[in-house]
Symmetry: C2
Subunit: 450 residues, 2 copies
């Protein structure tokens, strides 16, 4: 399915978590360990991203510290606080904050997000997730993580409440203001939400922003996650490893969006992407083996068998894989979306393990080669509308952001698919997404018509 | 009680909520209504405060919007987000964020606060309050506000958990780091808190900051509030309307701090202060009548009778007031601390209503007069250690901050009690408060000693 938006362009976000996306790649990065808790590190990454005219910087998140000596903490600073500091120091660039609908209250979170959206002039994208890691629950009480069939309806109602709150105070709804009044309080209307999971009276004490409210991103790849994306997602961060898988995913989202009464052309797919650039494809392959921590192609294959519970002695890395054995159990508690990417890949392409280990890294699409080859592969799935762009996850920060900005971005610009500068639009406008409607103005009360 | 800290100096914070402290004074202010939701307004206020070498900007807060046409919203932007934007744009100045222990979870709040404390280089003061306004509860579910005897123990345990979290990851606790390890994870220790109100495993995913963790401010004036202040408060924001009342308050806090095992010299009192400057005292009195919304001295007296349920027909504004009739019912749900200020004043001074209405405004100490007289009155209660300074609440923003900075600050500087520039210290060091101890290093496990 292609899109008909006339000024369609390639969108790129870039992940800026701690040392980069791959847990072992820090060994080959230029940063010092304590940089991960130094604001200057993140400002440097955001400035690099700005130089590369990225649409947005992206922070994944989990309210959890896993002290693994061999790896690094992937999530430290609170995303909304960190992105506020970035917004104050780096112009133009959009800001994707991942936030949990499981362990937040809608009033507080809607308020924090809207504050940043106002302060930044309409640059916030809120990636609402439902936590899937059981250890997170232990930081929020003695109860275990709620099951998926509670988390998702709760996330959905959470967004419903947040959207009501975001339009509950609208300066533009002011009418005539009598002398001596600070404001026309018709601009404010309590929401009086009383649902299954939340009761919130409102109004929010932060008004609508230049872009109405933050753009809603959605990152779940499970069946429930796709439903949530279809209802509320404007930007979808997902795992798409091939054209066939991407088109099938788009189709699923489109059907459900239509069923939910939405226009599917108002949804952008920007799946994760790991790009590793070399002077040659061979060099990129060697870097992949190092950055992944596997050390060699054999190491990648060993890791593959371990991750999927395959007996390595009874395994031919050059035999086509049988998709059936990878289908995840829908009853399991951890994220379904990640394995689903592999299943979708094998559904559409006949591949061996040796091929598969070069197609995905950290569950995202992996592309390897020279800067030209990287640019080609990025444009390839974008050109026919399979995706609208990518969320580039650099293996190392700052090194791979810098290399991507210096080598790949100029090619994309030369090909005319990617901008060379920012304009003054909000991030919502830049993604071609519709401005959210203001809440319906209350009609004249019946008495006053009598 | 006087303090023996050699470099004792006058401390001043300044409130920067929306239009200023007094609900009606915006009519005489230079701002436009929509400035209250414009980041540029707050940056202007913070830059004025920086010019005046204030210790900190102060944001009171309530997660609630009251659409009162005659007044203005006092609380809009989320304080931690707004202060992050200020920290990124204005150097040196401390940042006081008011946050609710009633409607937050310790892990999330400790994380947000510590992120800002790190990003700002040790400038955060966290004013932990327990919400006292019943309407706030309606933004967080169908349950009414918890009673005071639940809110305060919860607030206390909240702080206990936050402090444990703030020392649960400490880069300085790293030992030898084997080759190929990102960090020595001995720097991290889960807190495994399991109490009456909270169960939190930890560790926090944000490390200790330059000042250890945010300075703790406390603002409750009830008996329970003073207990909390005595246990955890480092800076106390309170209502002190006279020397006698201030000394009695300090005495109460000191005794309870000692009973709780704390050194009372590690507590600073910076009560609220409303200062109204005129070319003459007469002019200041007229400005007070305007800014308060009362319009005249008679108006102030009418308001006084209304606020205290006094029959105006049977009332002599020039007769000494009987303290007994103002003692608040300890069972009531709303803030006790505010009325307590008046009771404490009348306990120590014999005053008429005509005098009382010029001693407090918005429940804080009111001082009126020329810039010289204002400076004298500020220094008066500070010089003998009754207070350590003030939290100046400007009636109007930006007007009264500007006037205070231009006219009063230079006098305080000339008198040698107030600094003329910032130094590079953390806000904790600037207030002469002790650096929080790192968590006890785990001793060698018994097995390893065998």
């Amino acid at each position: 399915m292609t899109q008909s938006i006339p000024d369609r362009r390639l969108h790129l976000n870039v992940g800026i978590n701690t040392t980069g996306y791959l847990g072992n790649a820090w060994k080959y990065a230029r940063l010092k360990p304590r940089d991960v808790t130094d604001i200057q590190h993140y400002l440097r990454l955001a400035r690099l991203a700005h130089k590369g005219v990225f649409d947005a910087v992206f922070l994944s998140d989990m309210p959890l510290l896993r002290p693994d000596p061999a790896s690094r903490p992937l999530h430290t600073f609170d995303p909304l606080i960190l992105l506020t500091a970035i917004a104050a120091s780096v112009p133009d660039i959009g800001l994707v904050a991942t936030v949990s609908s499981t362990y937040n209250s809608p009033y507080n979170l809607a308020r924090r997000a809207q504050t940043l959206d106002l302060i930044s002039g309409g640059r916030l994208i809120l990636n609402i997730v439902s936590n899937f890691v059981p250890e997170v629950a232990a930081n929020f009480g003695n109860d275990p993580l709620p099951p998926r069939d509670v988390r998702y309806p709760r996330a959905e109602e959470f967004l419903e409440v947040a959207k009501k709150l975001w339009s509950s105070w609208d300066w533009d709804a002011e009418g005539e203001k009598p002398e001596g009044q600070f404001w026309d309080t018709n601009a404010v209307e309590p929401i009086a939400h009383d649902g299954e999971y939340f009761a919130v009276r409102g109004a929010l004490n932060v008004p609508r922003s230049r872009q109405g409210h933050p753009v809603i991103a959605q990152a779940g790849g499970s069946d429930r996650g796709i439903d949530l994306a279809a209802r509320h997602g404007e930007i979808i961060y997902c795992n798409i490893l091939s054209r066939g898988a991407g088109q099938a995913f788009r189709q699923r989202v489109t059907e459900r969006a239509i069923a939910a009464g939405r226009d599917p052309s108002e949804i952008r797919l920007t799946p994760g992407l790991v790009a590793i650039i070399g002077e040659s494809r061979e060099e990129a392959l060697r870097k992949h083996e190092l950055f992944s921590g596997a050390g060699s192609e054999d190491g990648l294959l060993v890791r593959f068998t371990r991750e999927h519970g395959i007996d390595p002695h009874d395994f031919d890395p050059d035999a086509p894989l049988d998709v059936e054995r990878f289908i995840p159990d829908p009853g399991r508690i951890t994220a379904i979306g990640f394995t689903q990417g592999l299943v979708d890949l094998l559904t559409h392409e006949r591949l061996t393990a040796r091929q598969v280990v070069r197609r995905a890294e950290g569950n995202h699409r992996l592309i390897l080669g020279t800067a030209e080859e990287i640019a080609d592969q990025i444009i390839d799935l974008w050109a026919d509308g399979t995706v609208d762009g990518y969320t580039y996850q650099p293996p190392r920060a700052p090194d791979d952001i810098e290399e991507f900005v210096d080598k790949v971005i100029p090619i994309l610009q030369d090909r005319g698919v990617y901008p060379t500068a920012y304009d003054d639009r909000t991030v919502r406008e830049r993604f071609g997404l519709p401005h959210p409607a203001a809440r319906a103005r209350p009609s004249m009360p019946a008495e006053s018509l009598a």
